[in-house]
């Protein structure tokens, strides 16, 4: 089978290889630039300052400056500079960044009142959490109402449609004026950035509900509130869950803007501080951590979604069953879609509940 065939799934092994490669390729590029001395490396790192009056050991200067200074020193008959080619300080090599992911947690803040890295991270997560929670508490029910009732749809959606084109960060100054300089305005920015999209997205999801399901429920005697509770909510649940995963990603992207509003805090403060100290390894490490936290959260949510909505093509894993039995008592039977075909043909008898 060829690697490139239109609209054909690749075999599992090739897919895995490509997924790995998608991470390895950028890493390889970065490593090449960092470790191969004759590629790029526009600076010289001074090893011996010689007779120079203003250059010091360990300093990085452009090659022009380096050669000029050496020429000057040679003419004056003084000891010349020695150095090796180096990249600018803002591009640390991969191994430095990887060690920084660990050491950044161990780096003592320069001022005694400043937070450690883990405290900064916790603060960031807290801000996103509150912003997203607040938005969801209002946005999800409102979105569902808009999707179900034309009344709410027409009452809210046109204005939200307009409002969402105003970028959340522009409300920064206002939010500070109203809510002070602490966490209030930050949560508000994440709320504004998420809420309006959320209502519109959830309303749209709700509108996708097949009317035939509602009709079938009506001919079975369901009305009003029962219809909403027993048909609309369970039917849209998997898609709403997926929407929430995507929206949480958006909330994360508003974090960095939110954190410079009022007093700078959290991971953004940490990044700016480290950049000021020119410890770029830590800057990269912090950026990497934001990405990793986002990805891991999304993967955990996706896993929960697969386990919760087995009927929608998911699969219930042993770990999930174990956890749910631990906390909420036994669930219905294990269900996997891979078993589907086998069940159809085998003489399968269901054990009693």
């Amino acid at each position: 089978m060829s690697w490139l065939s239109i609209q054909k799934e690749l075999p599992a092994r090739r897919k895995a290889a490509l997924i790995l490669l998608s991470f390895l390729l950028p890493l390889a590029l970065w490593s090449t630039i960092s470790y191969v001395p004759f590629i790029w490396h526009p600076m010289m790192e001074i090893q011996n300052a010689g007779g120079s009056l203003y250059l010091e050991q360990g300093q990085r200067v452009t090659r022009n400056v380096f050669e000029q200074e050496n020429r000057r020193l040679m003419e004056g008959g003084e000891e010349v500079l020695t150095g090796v080619r180096a990249n600018p300080v803002y591009l640390p090599p991969p191994h430095n960044v990887l060690t920084a992911v660990y050491t950044a947690f161990k780096t003592k803040p320069r001022r005694p009142d400043d937070p450690w890295l883990h405290e900064s991270l916790a603060h960031s997560i807290q801000v996103v959490f509150y912003g997203f929670l607040l938005s969801s508490l209002i946005g999800v029910p409102l979105g569902i109402l808009c999707g179900v009732f034309s009344f709410f749809s027409k009452l809210y959606e046109p204005f939200f449609e307009f409002f969402r084109y105003m970028p959340a960060p522009v409300f920064g100054a206002l939010a500070v004026a109203v809510l002070g300089i602490n966490d209030g305005p930050k949560v508000a920015i994440i709320f504004i950035g998420t809420f309006f999209q959320q209502v519109l997205v959830i309303a749209n999801t709700t509108r996708q509900l097949p009317p035939s399901l509602l009709e079938a429920a009506q001919t079975l005697g369901a009305k009003g509130g029962t219809l909403l509770k027993k048909v609309v909510l369970p039917a849209i649940a998997p898609t709403v869950f997926l929407d929430m995963r995507i929206l949480l990603g958006w909330a994360w992207t508003y974090l960095i803007v939110a954190e410079v509003v009022g007093t700078s805090t959290g991971i953004t403060w940490f990044i700016n501080q480290q950049a000021k100290y020119r410890i770029y390894e830590n800057v990269y490490a912090a950026i990497l951590m934001i990405g990793i936290i986002g990805l891991v959260t999304d993967m955990v949510l996706a896993w929960i979604g697969r386990n919760l909505f087995v009927w929608d093509g998911g699969k219930r894993s042993g770990l999930f069953l174990f956890l749910s039995e631990l906390f909420c008592g036994p669930m219905d039977k294990t269900f996997t879609f891979t078993k589907k075909r086998a069940l159809k043909h085998a003489d399968y008898t269901t054990p009693e509940l």
Partner: protein, 297 residues
């Protein structure tokens, strides 16, 4: 060529005539009174149904058939209360109804099982809505699932079932509410021929054993004649009643009756009502593209 002489579809054997006499003395379950449906569009009003009246008696199997676009589906949606008639009314046990309700069960052509519920929970849906206790609802649901022969699949989700099984669950779900009438909107339309034949046999067996009146929409002539006591033939554009036909084939039906003279006569008559000019072949402007001489021409 030999032509088979068929009897008139109006000739009924004494047993069949007797059955129809008894049928018509039974209580009227569902009555359509001068139902019209007009859809307003920008190009003017479109009359989908005009002045349709009929009665369905207790334990009758009544089919509605007609050319495509005759408003069969609109009619059954009006009977179920999912749509309202522009004029006329639907009477259930003599009382007008204008909203969907559990006393008129419905089986749709598309699969409308709730995908997030297991077979058992699907059948329990109507019972729980009616306020029965979990235990009571479960017991009754299991009984109906057994009736459609799916007791092995109670804990399966709809996605794990075949098309025929899904429709059997849908029938069980509708019957669990013990409706006065079961409305079926081309329920076997999406099934392959063999499954369809099996489903027809299941439906006949259920109908014989349950006190239920069935109104069955179909576009399949064979199906209509095979299953029904009476067949309501509709005209298209606008949908009007063309004829109410009493099928002169004795009950209980079996697949062998497909070749009975009465069966064939009824089929031919309905065919002539639905496609009046069926004998004339439509001529396509085809150019002959082969040189091979054979006796087709």
């Amino acid at each position: 060529m030999q032509t088979i002489q068929l009897p008139s579809y109006k000739e009924q054997s004494p047993t069949v005539a007797d059955r129809f006499n008894r049928l018509k003395q039974r209580q009227v379950i569902l009555e359509a009174e001068n139902i019209s449906k007009i859809f307003p569009t920008e190009q003017g009003d479109i009359t989908a149904l005009a002045d349709i009246s009929f009665k369905a008696y207790r334990r009758e199997f009544l089919s509605v058939i007609g050319p495509s676009g005759c408003g069969k589906s609109t009619l059954i949606r009006i009977l179920s209360g999912l749509e309202s008639a522009s004029e006329g009314q639907v009477l259930l046990d003599g009382k007008p109804v204008d909203q969907p309700g559990p006393e008129r069960g419905m089986v749709f052509q598309g699969y409308t099982l709730f995908p997030w519920l297991t077979v058992k929970k699907n059948v329990m849906f109507g019972l729980e809505v009616a306020g029965k206790s979990q235990t009571q609802a479960r017991a009754e649901a299991l009984q109906w699932i057994e009736m459609v022969g799916l007791e092995e699949f109670v804990d399966h989700y709809p996605a794990q079932l075949s098309g025929g099984m899904k429709q059997r669950v849908a029938i069980a779900r509708a019957l669990a509410n013990q409706p006065r009438v079961l409305l079926m909107d081309e329920p076997f339309g999406a099934l392959d021929a063999q499954t369809r034949a099996r489903m027809q046999s299941y439906l006949m067996q259920i109908w014989r054993n349950v006190d239920i009146t069935i109104i069955f929409i179909t576009h399949d002539l064979d199906e209509a004649v095979y299953l029904s006591d009476r067949v309501l033939v509709l005209n298209a554009n606008p949908g009007t009643v063309q004829e109410m036909i009493e099928v002169p084939v004795a009950q209980p039906r079996s697949p062998k009756q497909h070749l009975n003279p009465e069966f064939l006569a009824t089929k031919e008559h309905i065919e002539s009502l639905i496609h009046p000019n069926r004998d004339e072949e439509d001529v396509l402007p085809i150019i002959r593209l082969t040189n091979i001489k054979d006796d087709i021409l």
